[in-house]
């Protein structure tokens, strides 16, 4: 691409419009003359108002045609000598070869002070009349688009890395294909890797981009895990790129990587066969079996002993009585007819407190025991 950096095309085309009492003018500050298919270039539009134009906003209407695609790279607003200037950098990417006529449009929106006040105060009675919008045609631009057969366009590098070149059989080897730079990286089609006798596990390509004047800038990383029983060669990865820095097509390719597979682990070789003729081995077995048997015996013995443990006698409500009167009261409150004989005996002083308690302890019915 030949960028006309030295030649600032000043389009004072004159779209001198008077809108809602404020004049503004659209112009093209910068534009590429020619691009390759798939190569992105920046067109810089400016909208200059007569005053500070705080109530105005501008928005470019993006288009996507069979000939080209557009996206906004950046937009900023500044006020110079009391005049507001909106600058919009539009990224344009041709899709076909030939002369491309670009006819962009923009919306200029005017918001009345009343509408601004309503919004600030949180009112919801905003009427349609408070906002006025006008579509404006921007100055036309012609760009020559040239043929490009490369998969990607831009300033791009590619490399393939492995974590090691020698692994054991069935041990995974990790391969990373990394594509870096700026350009139309989003057009990258992930590789499909097939190697005879090798199991290939691949992950979706990871893409990390930020917008740039070339399209996007960043990195694509594609990870593979390779498992094999025998040695193999990782083939060359190829990527055709139109190098915008040198204005020529190049073929990026990685070097083939030889992977050596060493003998793997044999499960049987990891265990020592027990030597049953060795007394110490037999003793060890007997010791472990004995431990298990003893555990079962102790466990069962503990369970039986726990079941037969001497249990504390449940406290009965009348045991808390300290004197005869209190005992009589407690027994009477219980309302159990069985206690009447003891109450009568206590009231007539024919038995003592301890004798009464002794008699009570012999009465064992479900009614008598209270927690």
């Amino acid at each position: 691409m030949r960028r006309s950096l030295g030649r600032i095309i000043v389009w004072f085309v004159i779209f001198h419009t008077t809108l809602w009492g404020m004049s503004y003018r659209w112009s093209v500050l910068e534009s590429p003359q020619s691009l390759r298919v798939g190569q992105s270039g920046v067109i810089r539009y400016a909208c200059t108002f007569e005053g500070s134009a705080a109530e105005y906003s501008t928005k470019l209407k993006l288009v996507d045609t069979p000939q080209y695609g557009t996206s906004v790279l950046s937009q900023n607003t500044r006020v110079v000598q009391g005049k507001r200037i909106d600058t919009i950098d539009l990224l344009i990417t041709p899709k076909t070869a030939g002369v491309i006529e670009i006819r962009m449009k923009a919306d200029v929106r005017y918001t009345s002070p009343g509408a601004v006040e309503n919004t600030v105060l949180g009112r919801d009675n905003l009427s349609r009349d408070d906002i006025s919008e006008e579509e404006v045609a921007l100055p036309g631009i012609s760009i020559r688009s040239q043929e490009n057969s490369a998969a990607l366009t831009g300033n791009i590098t590619m490399e393939a890395q492995v974590d090691r070149t020698s692994v054991r059989a069935h041990e995974p080897l990790h391969l990373s294909v990394i594509i870096k730079g700026s350009g139309n990286l989003e057009q990258f089609i992930p590789y499909e890797l097939n190697i005879s006798g090798v199991k290939v596990f691949s992950e979706p390509a990871q893409k990390l981009f930020t917008p740039s004047s070339d399209g996007v800038e960043g990195e694509i990383r594609q990870e593979f895990a390779l498992v094999a029983e025998k040695s193999y060669v990782i083939p060359t990865f190829k990527l055709s790129v139109f190098d915008t820095a040198h204005n020529r097509a190049v073929l990026l390719q990685s070097a083939p990587i030889q992977v050596e597979i060493n003998e793997g682990y044999d499960p049987a070789s990891l265990l020592d066969a027990p030597d049953l003729t060795d007394m110490s081995t037999l003793k060890h077995y007997a010791y472990n079996i004995g431990l298990v048997i003893l555990g079962v015996i102790f466990g069962e013995a503990g369970r039986v002993l726990w079941k037969r443990r001497p249990r504390r006698k449940t406290a009965q409500f009348w045991e808390r009585s300290k004197n005869t009167k209190e005992l009589i009261l407690m027994l009477a409150l219980s309302g159990d007819k069985r206690y009447e004989a003891i109450i009568t005996a206590l009231e007539s002083n024919t038995i003592s407190l301890s004798e009464a308690k002794k008699k009570l302890s012999t009465l064992t019915t479900e009614k008598e025991v209270k927690a």
């Binding site: 009589i328 009261l329 409150l333 009231e347 479900e366």
Partner: protein, 315 residues
């Protein structure tokens, strides 16, 4: 005299197993002319016991099942037109009896409850222009089911106060239940014999009135009632917040009567604190109003009464 009581008990025991507390409560009500409220879940022989008691006493017995559509005239009676004589005549209701079982009293609306409770107090019914005295003895035994909340009209505190005792009926013991099941399965229930008449009952009532209460015991009873109103004076600050209203003076009046009957049923000539302790819960549990706080904390009124009686010094 105690022999007669024992005979009544043994007659009732022919059809009712256990439930001694309920039978004693009914006898106390009869001896003191006090009405009884029995609370318990269905199937605990409440109706059977009352029927058996009326048969043993040779008294008139009527039963009214309280329902939401019951009218006062269904209980009291009404003036009905007699076309033969071209005049109105009085048709007496089931209230004209000696023992009236008001089954599930809390199922009837307030107007029916009021009509009944008024008669309980006045012992007199007015139908049209005529007033009729109910022939003594007149005892109402009302039952209510505590487990239902829907479609019931709980008795207000003022009306509950007219019941001398509130007896809560619990389950029988396992042995008692076995005996009941065997008896019902073999259909071996014996017929109940009438063992006393109205005159004998009146003489028993007179005898009860002669039971002596020592002044110290009298004061003890009054102190117990007072303690429900001012528990903090007896070191019961902790339960003060659970009591909204203490026992009414009717409790003192009924207690003086009931403890005599308790002592009489035990074959004694005088009242002791144990007689009071054995009946105090039945006397007070429906007459003390607990606070919402107590209800929220699941405090039982019987526990509060126990705490009160344990806190008051025994004479």
């Amino acid at each position: 005299m105690i022999n007669i009581i024992n005979q009544i008990r043994s007659e009732v025991a022919k059809v009712v197993v256990g439930q001694d507390k309920m039978i004693d409560g009914l006898l106390i009500g009869l001896l003191c002319d006090g009405h009884i409220l029995i609370e318990g879940i269905p199937g605990l022989a409440k109706t059977t016991t009352v029927k058996a008691l009326s048969a043993a006493l040779g008294l008139g017995f009527k039963r009214v099942q309280f329902t939401p559509d019951l009218l006062p005239s269904d209980i009291l009676g009404a003036e009905v037109y007699d076309p033969q004589h071209n005049a109105f005549k009085i048709k007496k209701g089931p209230i004209f009896t000696n023992l009236l079982l008001a089954d599930e009293i809390n199922r009837a609306p307030a107007k029916v409850q009021s009509a009944l409770l008024e008669v309980m107090q006045e012992r007199q019914v007015t139908l049209g222009d005529e007033s009729f005295k109910l022939s003594p003895p007149f005892l109402v035994m009302a039952t209510q089911n505590p487990i239902e909340n829907e479609g019931v009209y709980p008795l207000p505190e003022a009306q509950l106060d007219r019941f001398m005792l509130k007896i809560t009926v619990g389950y029988n013991t396992a042995e008692e239940e076995l005996s009941i099941a065997r008896r019902i399965a073999s259909s071996t229930a014996e017929a109940i014999t009438t063992v006393i008449d109205v005159d004998t009952l009146n003489s028993l009532k007179e005898k009860v009135k002669t039971i002596h209460i020592d002044e110290e015991v009298e004061r003890y009873m009054i102190t117990l009632v007072t303690a429900t109103r001012e528990p903090e004076k007896y070191g019961l600050e902790s339960i003060k917040r659970y009591l909204q209203f203490g026992a009414s003076p009717r409790v003192s009046i009924d207690m003086f009567k009931a403890v005599r009957a308790v002592a009489f049923l035990r074959g004694k000539e005088f009242v002791t604190p144990s007689d009071i302790a054995s009946i105090i819960k039945e006397l007070m549990r429906h007459r003390i109003v607990m606070t919402y706080e107590a209800e929220a904390e699941g405090i039982e009124i019987d526990d509060l009464i126990e705490q009160i009686i344990k806190a008051v010094p025994i004479p």
